[in-house]
């Protein structure tokens, strides 16, 4: 048995790949990949993302104790690879999707059902070296069963009652209590990885910025950081700070509105109205300062597309002043409404052990004791120059997730204010050099860690790019959260997670 081997020590048994930045990549042979899986059974190494190419499987790992990040790759000559899903259950659906899209078979995975392929594409395994012919008719999906007296099923979706994204939920219930929830996703699979291969940088940036529209700044940021790492592009300092302002504006806008929407799902509509007004203030400020309400396409490889004038900065400071007051009013309202607490406290609990097993981040993780935040680890500018606290609770219920979001939004408002006061002068954008390379970019979205991996050819065209959404590790936990709760609490639990369908389905 090996002693306390760090991730980097372990991966050094593989062959390092030149030109992968800022963290190393190692190619493991068959034996090395098997050893990695054995090691993952005991090591505190989290999976950040897993993705495939035609003949390769890649996994980005983080050593939780040493803090190192590295990518492990494996050449699957026979189009099969030993599945990581048995030791990291969070990637089971990812590996099912890899089989659907790339045709690489995860060996050892018990769940062999298709995931994002519903049997409706013009080809099966569309991105494999040799795609297979289309399915004669759409697949029937064999849902897991629950057996017992008085059990009934409730099918919901893909078209839901609210203004939300499409997905199917299959409930098995006994009376009001949910015995089992199973999700079926993939309805908004757009083939984004296929679109990105061969795309010029500007087109790819546009597409990655639309993997999940509510996290567009975080995606654009992770993509830009990956490109800049791959090409060795040095971004001007001011651009980092402007990116920080945009990212925190996005976080605040999403947190406040989702808090309102979650309360609305507990029939407390006044919070939604209050938060809707607050969200609108942020979106209008975005529009006035950067020219887009959601700041889409504002973070670009090499910097940012729009500078912030002194006048704009002052206007934003002024806006924040009033905003904070109304935000705290909402917090008081939340904390002092017993009928609302009655719905949110002890509802939809996710155990800390599950959070760790699935490696879930964001407010879902932080409400159940997993305090990881990409702004701190690995960390990136401008946060390395700013003190910030990451709130963590352990209750893991709807209430905890809402309280974490209040605390994060409060912290973000504080950060924006500091960034505006301390923002350095200078250029905001530099050209990206046209060189080949591989890069990994990480950014903390309001949901958690967005990871983008890419390889750029010498002609400046994306050869392969994979964007990873934090929802991928959170969706399965929603199934656990609702178990034993009543059906009527599902919207509340679902909104307290607010996972991205589009980001998950890719």
């Amino acid at each position: 048995m090996i002693g306390d081997v760090t991730l980097l020590e372990f991966l050094s048994l593989g062959r390092p790949v030149e030109g992968h930045r800022p963290w190393p990549r190692f190619v493991l042979d068959q034996k090395g990949w098997r050893l990695l899986i054995d090691r993952l059974r005991v090591a505190e190494w989290s999976v950040m993302a897993e993705w495939a190419e035609r003949e390769h499987i890649h996994v980005a790992l983080r050593d939780e104790s040493a803090g190192d990040i590295a990518v492990a790759s494996h050449h699957c000559a026979d189009r099969r690879f030993l599945a990581l899903g048995n030791v990291r259950p969070g990637v089971i659906r990812i590996e099912r999707a890899i089989h659907d899209v790339w045709g690489l078979a995860p060996v050892g995975l018990e769940d062999k059902r298709h995931w994002v392929d519903h049997g409706r594409w013009p080809a099966r395994m569309p991105l494999a070296a040799q795609p297979m012919g289309p399915s004669a008719e759409p697949d029937a999906y064999p849902f897991l069963t629950a057996v017992g007296e008085g059990l009934h099923q409730i099918p919901v979706g893909p078209v839901h009652a609210g203004v939300i994204e499409p997905g199917h939920f299959r409930f098995h219930c006994q009376g009001e209590a949910v015995v089992r929830l199973e999700q079926r996703l993939g309805y908004v699979h757009k083939g984004i990885e296929g679109l990105l291969s061969g795309a010029p940088l500007d087109k790819a940036a546009r597409v990655v910025g639309r993997v999940s529209g509510d996290s567009t700044v975080a995606y654009a940021l992770a993509f830009a950081r990956a490109v800049e790492a791959a090409t060795g592009c040095e971004v001007p300092v001011r651009a980092h700070w402007l990116r920080g302002v945009m990212a925190e504006m996005e976080r605040v806008a999403n947190h406040v509105f989702d808090i309102g929407a979650a309360c609305n799902d507990a029939s407390f509509a006044v919070m939604l109205s209050h938060m809707g007004v607050l969200r609108e203030k942020i979106l209008r400020a975005n529009d006035a300062l950067f020219g887009h309400r959601l700041n889409m396409d504002r973070v670009v490889p090499g910097g940012v597309s729009h500078d912030l004038s002194d006048e704009g900065s002052e206007a934003l400071k002024h806006l924040l002043h009033g905003f904070v007051r109304q935000f705290e009013e909402a917090y008081q309202l939340y904390e002092n409404t017993p009928s609302l607490s009655d719905r949110t406290v002890s509802t939809g609990i996710v155990q800390t052990s599950l959070i760790h097993r699935f490696g879930a981040g964001g407010f879902v993780g932080r409400a159940s004791g997993r305090g990881h935040d990409a702004r701190q680890a690995p960390g990136y500018p401008p946060y390395d120059k700013l003190d910030m606290t990451v709130p963590v609770l352990t209750e893991g219920d709807v209430n905890a997730r809402i309280l974490i979001r209040f605390a994060e939004a409060r912290e973000s408002l504080h950060l924006i204010n500091r960034m505006l006061h301390e923002m350095p002068d200078g250029a905001t954008r530099v050209p990206v050099p046209e060189v080949a390379g591989e890069g990994l970019g990480v950014a903390e979205s309001f949901r958690g860690e967005v990871v983008v991996w890419l390889r750029i050819g010498a002609d400046g065209v994306i050869e392969r790019c994979h964007p990873h959404d934090p929802s991928r590790f959170q969706w399965p936990l929603l199934e656990a959260a609702i178990e034993g709760n009543i059906v009527a609490d599902f919207p509340l639990c679902n909104k307290s997670f607010n996972c991205s369908y589009s980001g998950h389905d890719l």
């Binding site: 908004v188 699979h189 509510d214 006044v270 007004v277 009013e329």
Partner: protein, 178 residues
């Protein structure tokens, strides 16, 4: 201690809703006038109100965010009798977002079939016109018009609340006699 809810309710009773007083900037695009005109036309055409069912056929969820915005107090679409409903069976208008993915194509068709006549289909956002930046993918059929007949397209990525209001107004202008 006075409960926070009492403070908020009292303030709104005394000062009026956000819709009237609390827009962060004065209305540069005449949102209020637009919404008013929209309400009058909806009443003239439909006699009562306009019910909208939203269908996400593959969007990135950006369009959904702006649909939420028009429902919030600042724009408050519902004061003009235009509201979002939970079922296509209650709807006059289907507001469809996103490129239509192959996995959503049948669901979209079925939703249209479940909507009683007369019905109008509005494609919202640049993706809904022709697939936008997702066009050409194996998993995408194309725009909404490639799957179901479209009465109107609202441009934008995503369309702003003002563009959404203007689009619904244009719909009411063009659908006379249907």
């Amino acid at each position: 201690m006075i409960p926070p809810i009492a403070k908020i309710l009292a303030r709104h009773l005394l000062k009026g809703p956000h819709t009237m007083k609390d827009a962060p900037r004065p209305d540069p695009g005449g949102v209020a006038e637009l919404a008013e005109a929209l309400g009058q036309r909806a009443r003239a055409r439909l006699g009562r109100s306009l019910s909208i069912r939203e269908v996400d056929a593959g969007s990135c969820n950006g369009c959904e965010l702006e649909i939420h915005a028009v429902n919030q107090p600042v724009y408050d679409l519902e004061r003009f009798g235009i509201r979002f409903v939970a079922s296509p069976r209650h709807a006059d208008v289907l507001l469809v977002t996103g490129p239509v993915t192959r996995n959503m194509e049948e669901a979209l068709r079925r939703t249209v079939e479940a909507t009683p006549e007369p019905r109008w289909i509005v494609a919202m956002g640049d993706c809904a016109r022709d697939g936008g930046c997702f066009a050409g993918s194996y998993a995408v059929v194309g725009g909404v018009g490639d799957v179901v007949p479209v009465d109107l397209h609202i441009p934008g990525c995503p369309p702003s609340p003002r563009q959404i209001l203007a689009g619904l107004l244009a719909l009411l202008d063009t659908v006379e006699g249907k």
